[in-house]
C-alpha cells in the first residue's frame, strides 16, 4: 500500500519508468485497490479503453486515388468506342455518293442511257471517218503489190539459173 502510494506520487511527478507505470496499471486492474487510491482507478481504465480505439478503413483515400486513373482510361475507351460506332452507323446508313454526269455542249447530262447512246454514235462517226481516210492508202498498198509481181518472176529465174550452174560445176 505504501509502495503504491509512493509509486503513484512518483507517477504524477512524471518520474516513473515505463516498467513502473505498468506495475501501477496492473495494480489498479487487479481490483484490490485501497479506498484512498480508488479515485485513480478510472484514470487507468480510461487509458486502457483508449488503447482499444482503432482506425477505420485507413486505405480508403489511397484506393480511391488508384481507381481514378483506371476509371479515366475505361471512360476514354468507352467514349472512343461509342464515337466509332456512331460513325460506322452513319457511314453504313449514308454511304458516300459520287456524282456521275457528262457535259455535252456545256450541258450537264445525268441520264446514263442517253449518254451511252450519244457516245456510241460519236464513236461510230469516228470509225467511219477513219475508214474513209484509210481507203486511199489501202489502194496504194495494192498498187505497189501488183507492181512488184514481175520482180517475183525475176526471183524465180534467178533460182533456176543457180540450179543449172551448180549442176554444171559438179560435172
Amino acid at each position: 500500500m505504501e509502495i503504491m502510494n509512493e509509486l503513484l506520487e512518483k507517477y504524477f511527478k512524471g518520474e516513473t519508468s515505463v516498467c513502473e507505470e505498468n506495475e501501477l496499471k496492473q495494480y489498479f486492474k487487479a481490483g484490490n485497490v485501497s479506498s484512498e487510491l480508488k479515485i485513480y482507478s478510472t484514470l487507468f481504465d480510461t487509458f486502457d479503453s483508449e488503447a482499444l480505439e482503432k482506425a477505420v478503413n485507413p486505405l480508403k483515400k489511397l484506393t480511391q486515388r488508384q481507381r481514378k486513373p483506371i476509371r479515366i482510361w475505361i471512360r476514354s475507351f468507352a467514349y472512343t468506342g461509342i464515337a466509332a460506332s456512331l460513325m460506322l452507323f452513319l457511314f453504313i446508313k449514308y454511304p458516300f455518293q459520287v456524282d456521275n454526269y457528262a457535259v455535252v455542249s456545256g450541258n450537264k447530262i445525268e441520264d446514263t442511257e442517253f449518254a451511252e447512246k450519244y457516245v456510241e454514235k460519236k464513236l461510230n462517226h469516228v470509225n467511219d471517218m477513219l475508214n474513209k481516210s484509210m481507203r486511199p492508202l489501202n489502194n496504194s498498198f495494192e498498187n505497189v503489190r501488183n507492181d512488184l509481181q514481175p520482180m517475183n518472176k525475176l526471183i524465180n529465174v534467178k533460182e533456176k539459173m543457180e540450179k543449172i550452174q551448180n549442176t554444171i560445176q559438179i560435172k
Partner: protein, 171 residues
C-alpha cells in the same frame, strides 16, 4: 519499399496514428480523415521510407505535423472543439454521470494540445521519453516537464470533483 512491405510495416501503424490524431484534433471523424491523408502521402513517398530508421517515430511525427497543419489551416478546428465538451458539472449532474471514463476523457481533452498528446503517448501508447521527444521535436526534459504538468492537472481535477461529490453527500 514495395506494396507488400508497405502493407506489412506502415498499415499496422494506422491504429496508433488514429489515436494520436484524435488526441490532437479531439474529433474522431477528422482523425480518421487525417490518417487516410497521411497514408496517401506515405504511399507517394514509399521509395524513401526504406531510408527511415525509426518508422514508428517518423510516421507519428508526420501524423502530428499533419494534424497541427489542419488546425492552423482550418480555424473551425480549434483546440477546444471536442467530441465531448468539458464542463464543470455540478455534483447532482456528477452523480447522474455514470461513465467516469467519459469524464476523465473530457479532462484530458481539456488540456493544452502538447500536454494531452504527451500524456496519451506515454500512458496509452507506452512510448519512452526519447520517442516522445523525437515525435514532438522537444528535448526529453521538456517532455518530462509537460508530462508531469499534465498528470498533476488531471489529478487536481479528479480530486476536485471527488471533493464536490463528497460535500454533496454530506449535505
Amino acid at each position: 519499399m514495395d506494396s507488400n512491405q508497405f502493407n506489412n510495416l506502415v498499415i499496422p501503424l494506422s491504429d496508433k496514428l488514429f489515436r494520436l490524431a484524435k488526441s490532437i484534433l479531439c474529433n474522431g471523424e477528422l482523425a480518421q480523415d487525417a490518417v487516410q491523408d497521411l497514408i496517401v502521402k506515405l504511399w507517394e513517398k514509399r521509395d524513401n521510407l526504406d531510408e527511415v530508421e525509426n518508422l514508428n517515430g517518423f510516421t507519428m511525427r508526420a501524423m502530428r505535423n499533419l494534424c497541427l497543419d489542419k488546425i492552423r489551416q482550418n480555424k473551425d478546428i480549434s483546440e477546444l472543439q471536442t467530441d465531448i465538451e468539458y464542463s464543470e458539472l455540478n455534483p447532482y449532474q456528477q452523480t447522474e454521470q455514470k461513465d467516469l471514463v467519459f469524464r476523465i476523457k473530457q479532462m484530458i481533452n481539456n488540456l493544452p494540445e502538447l500536454q494531452r498528446t504527451i500524456i496519451r503517448m506515454r500512458d496509452v501508447e507506452g512510448l519512452e521519453l526519447s520517442e516522445i521527444a523525437f515525435i514532438t521535436s522537444l528535448t526529453e526534459n521538456a517532455v518530462s516537464v509537460n508530462l508531469s504538468r499534465a498528470r498533476l492537472k488531471i489529478r487536481e481535477r479528479i480530486l476536485n470533483e471527488n471533493r464536490k461529490v463528497e460535500e454533496m453527500q454530506w449535505k
